[in-house]
Symmetry: C2
Subunit: 187 residues, 2 copies
């Protein structure tokens, strides 16, 4: 049996207060939900939160959209879901890049304390959103702004720039045992 | 440059609908927030959600508590924060066990569609909550109930029973670079 560690109660933050860059990557479940949970917590602390989703399309109404709407946290789908399916890749590229311009503007404006760039690694990996622009915007952002970026295969230069990086590693997944996606859990 | 995969739009769930056991473990950030994000999503889908926190004390008012209160999702701190600090381990043990009885009752009642047992691995590891009882309750629960369990060092038998397991692996953490905890991000 293990002895419990000595815990200290949480107090007011001491020392430096500054915006962090957090990355959730890896092939396991929990990357986007960890970003949403952080958005929930930050909202609960009165921080100004905005969520951009780079894969979900504009009209998406998954569980998180409904709940964020109830909290008054803006969520924007920047992807093109169905068009993506139709493989109109030039349109996907244009949409992703236009979406990134909106996210960058929000990032640089300083009007938000926490921005979630959900699944942004995919358009970066497909060359639709230039990695260099993302890194520049993160470096140039006002110092109070926290940014959470999610998605598999985060590029090394992004990991280097980040303050906190977690790899969500898949140990096992219900899908692999033939269990279909469950509403309210997977989407 | 990578080619984007062929994505299918999300549809109504097909096939089996059943409650899942999900475990978020490992030493990285994002375990509890992933559970909260899942709770947010499930709530947005109209599922009945309840959150138990095995370390946070009853009066805790972190960001997540305030936001869940706004959503009308019940959150209960079952731990004893400050007493823990004072190392009154017998009281900690009694509190954890009593808290577990409450969680077990909620689990077996079928009155909720998703239960979060946040940081439950710690009282299990300290021997305050018997692992056998947790496994039994998970097996005996009504089939529609989803359960998310979080914390470092999840026991092997729990991983075996789980449908989905993610290890949150710490790649880097702001703390290690001397950046103190940020309000709204860490708590």
């Amino acid at each position: 049996m293990e002895r419990p560690p000595r815990l200290k109660p949480y107090g007011r933050p001491k020392g430096e207060r500054r915006g962090l860059v957090l990355v959730y990557t890896g092939d396991g479940k929990g990357k986007s939900t960890a970003a949403f949970g952080l958005a929930l917590r930050a909202h609960g602390r009165g921080l100004r939160v905005r969520v951009f989703q780079f894969i979900k399309h504009e009209g998406a109404r998954f569980g998180e959209h409904r709940a964020f709407a109830q909290l008054g946290v803006p969520v924007e789908g920047l992807g093109d879901g169905f068009t993506w399916k139709s493989r109109d890749l030039e349109r996907s590229r244009a949409l992703a890049y236009a979406g990134w311009q909106r996210a960058k503007e929000a990032l640089l404006s300083g009007a938000y304390d926490l921005l979630v760039l959900d699944e942004i690694t995919y358009p970066i990996r497909y060359g639709w959103v230039p990695l260099g622009e993302v890194l520049e915007a993160l470096k140039d952002r006002p110092p109070h702004v926290h940014v959470v970026l999610t998605g598999r295969g985060a590029p090394e230069a992004l990991l280097e720039l980040a303050d906190t990086v977690t790899e969500m590693r898949k140990v096992k997944h219900a899908f692999d045992q033939g269990v279909p996606a469950q509403r309210g859990i997977e989407h």
